[in-house]
């Protein structure tokens, strides 16, 4: 038995197959480039914030996380439901709803991002006023400012259709830039596809 005198060029069968097909040695440049680019295109996990509460402190936390996630390149969606949807009514809209109960609810809890109440220590508005004053003193952005930043950074807002109906909210009552109203199934699909959930 004689050994071949020719040195073995490559031991990689895939590289050999590519070389055969392309008629050149090694991995083609375009192929290598596509591989390298593909690695950079791995998308970060999506974030879905279920914005359920209308309390000032929780709204604040939701919007801090949403704006930061969007600023970090994380595709971010906010599902606005129950009291969380009231936050996204225009500040200047005072009474919402069609029947007396819907109207009464909006009177008892004024809608709009600038009219949120604290869940504790509200004291007829004294608590939120102190929070606002402290925020200003310490350079903390208010919810309204964070909402504007979140919108500018591409956070998607999904109003809950069921809550729109139950509170008698019209599209005209809501702030600009919200998406189409959706239901729970849309949220569940996002979550089952791997989006990180936050329920606030």
């Amino acid at each position: 038995m004689t050994l071949t005198a020719e040195p073995v060029k490559t031991l990689d069968p895939i590289a050999e197959a590519i070389a055969d097909a392309e008629g050149i040695d090694g991995v083609p440049e375009t192929f290598a480039k596509a591989l390298a680019e593909g690695r950079d295109e791995v998308k970060p996990r999506e974030l879905v914030i279920i914005c359920y509460s209308g309390d000032l402190e929780k709204t604040w936390a939701s919007l801090i996380l949403a704006s930061t996630a969007a600023a970090s390149g994380v595709p971010t969606k906010m599902f606005l439901t129950f009291w969380g949807l009231q936050t996204f009514v225009k500040d200047e809209v005072r009474v919402t709803g069609k029947n007396w109960m819907q109207k009464m609810l909006s009177v008892m809890q004024r809608p709009g991002i600038s009219h949120r109440k604290l869940s504790k220590m509200n004291f007829l508005g004294m608590g939120p006023w102190m929070m606002g004053t402290l925020a200003k003193q310490y350079g903390v952005a208010k919810p309204k400012e964070l909402l504007e930043a979140a919108q500018a950074l591409g956070v998607e807002f999904m109003p809950c259709q069921m809550t729109m109906d139950m509170f008698g909210l019209k599209r005209d009552d809501m702030i600009d830039g919200l998406g189409e109203p959706v239901g729970a199934a849309t949220v569940i699909e996002l979550l089952s596809n791997g989006a990180a959930p936050l329920f606030i």
Binding site: D40, P44, T68, G139, A141, A149, A152
Partner: protein
């Protein structure tokens, strides 16, 4: 110290979390790849936050320093 060719500066002095990051992300969007962005901040949390943000977004943290109460970050746009 070599003088860096800074394309734009984000003055986040006096701002709390998350505005230094939010303003930086907004400024970064307007810059071409490879451009240098300078951030000035007074939020002590920003020292960790900018490291995490750069890791997350793939932008490069070129320089990090502190002068008194002001933190300075130089970031190269991905």
């Amino acid at each position: 110290m070599a003088v860096l060719d800074i394309a734009t500066t984000v003055d986040a002095r006096g701002l709390s979390c998350p505005m230094p990051i939010v303003k930086t992300a907004q400024a970064a969007k307007t810059l071409p790849s490879g451009a240098l962005l300078e951030v000035l901040a007074t939020d002590p949390g920003s020292t960790k936050d900018f490291v995490a943000w750069c890791r997350q977004t793939g932008n490069e943290l070129v320089e990090q320093s502190v002068d008194g109460a002001v933190y300075r970050f130089v970031i190269r746009r991905k």
